[in-house]
């Protein structure tokens, strides 16, 4: 492999890996909170939709799909959904909301039992939609990367596709390794962290969609998550000083 070919593979690998890590973060978040079946079905549906779009449009994809519009729509939905989770996690951590809604869980169990044996639990549509949107948007961005790098010269398309596939394999392997230890983290902690991450992704994507040029590029996502995490933790500390009840004296951890 020549040096220029190597750099095309490397560039496509690195750019695709960044997008794949962002998708993996959302898939892990949904899997840990809404169940792996829901999360992986979202991945499967998004992969299918992506395949249809990429095969149908091919290189014309870059001109036809309004990526800014998609980023804005997905960004605002993730922002609102993430804020709802952070708010609930703060209220739970400060005892203003029960850690578990036992009545709701009981009603759900009864409903499942009524359906009879052999029927699995319902698909969690909220988790499915979040997983689908995250993978679809990031997958579309990877397709853009492959097509953009691949359009440079003859034969470059196969090299950039190779870089993207390698990134997908490496990031998926990392996800398979880290998902098990994460399941041991307390539920409200996971929901708190997931909510903060969704708000960070929502701000970043929504911002990109409306034309904000983030100075730090993709590095803005962890910075936003750190800021939101610190602020949410400060809200918990402040609200705990005036906790009204001790019925659900849970904490974030």
């Amino acid at each position: 492999m020549t040096a220029s070919n190597f750099f095309i593979v490397l560039a496509a690998f690195l750019a695709s890996a960044v997008e794949a890590v962002e998708a993996l973060t959302i898939v892990l978040a949904v899997g840990l909170t809404n169940g792996w079946r829901t999360s992986l079905l979202g991945v499967a549906a998004a992969s299918l939709a992506l395949a249809v779009v990429v095969i149908a449009l091919g290189p014309a994809l870059v001109q036809i799909v309004p990526i800014e519009g998609l980023q804005t729509l997905i960004g605002v939905l993730l922002l609102i959904f993430g804020l709802q989770w952070v708010r609930k996690a703060i209220l739970r951590a400060t005892g203003r909301k029960a850690l578990h809604d036992e009545a709701l869980i009981f009603a759900r169990e009864v409903e499942e039992l009524k359906r009879g044996p052999g029927v699995g639990p319902d698909l969690d549509w909220t988790g499915f939609v979040v997983s689908f949107k995250g993978v679809f948007l990031e997958g579309l961005e990877v397709a853009f990367i492959v097509l953009t790098f691949g359009a440079n010269r003859d034969g470059a398309f196969a090299l950039s596709a190779l870089g993207a596939v390698l990134a997908f394999v490496v990031v998926t392997a990392v996800g398979a390794v880290v998902h098990r230890p994460l399941t041991r983290v307390p539920e409200n902690t996971i929901k708190f962290v997931v909510g903060v991450m969704l708000v960070a992704f929502g701000t970043f994507w929504g911002g990109e969609g409306i034309g904000v040029e983030w100075t730090l590029g993709d590095w803005m996502i962890p910075l936003l998550a750190a800021i939101y995490g610190a602020v949410a933790f400060a809200f918990v500390t402040t609200l705990k000083r005036g906790t009204p009840t001790a019925t659900a004296a849970g904490s974030i951890a």
């Binding site: 804005t72 960004g75 605002v76 939905l77 922002l79 609102i80 959904f81 804020l83 709802q84 952070v86 708010r87 609930k88 703060i90 209220l91 203003r96 549509w125 909220t126 939609v129 708000v199 929502g202 701000t203 929504g206 911002g207 969609g209 409306i210 034309g211 904000v212 040029e213 983030w214 100075t215 936003l224 800021i227 939101y228 602020v231 949410a232 809200f235 609200l239 005036g242």
Partner: protein, 65 residues
């Protein structure tokens, strides 16, 4: 008909959920950000977006003290 109602209810729960403040605030954040970005104030938009998100969250927690 019940599928249309169910579809509408799903999106209402997804977007509004427990707090309409977050739904309105989340959309307002991006509208303000878009106005700043289109006027060329990119640095201001970068600061305003996270600041407004934090403000929206604070507003939604009012009344829970």
């Amino acid at each position: 008909m019940k599928y249309i109602v169910g579809f509408g209810k799903f999106w209402y729960d997804f977007i509004v959920g427990d707090s309409a403040v977050l739904a309105i605030g989340g959309a307002a954040v991006l509208i303000v950000g878009a106005l700043l970005a289109r006027s060329g104030a990119h640095a201001a938009a970068e600061v305003a977006l996270p600041a407004l998100v934090v403000g929206t969250l604070a507003l939604s927690l009012r009344g829970t003290e």
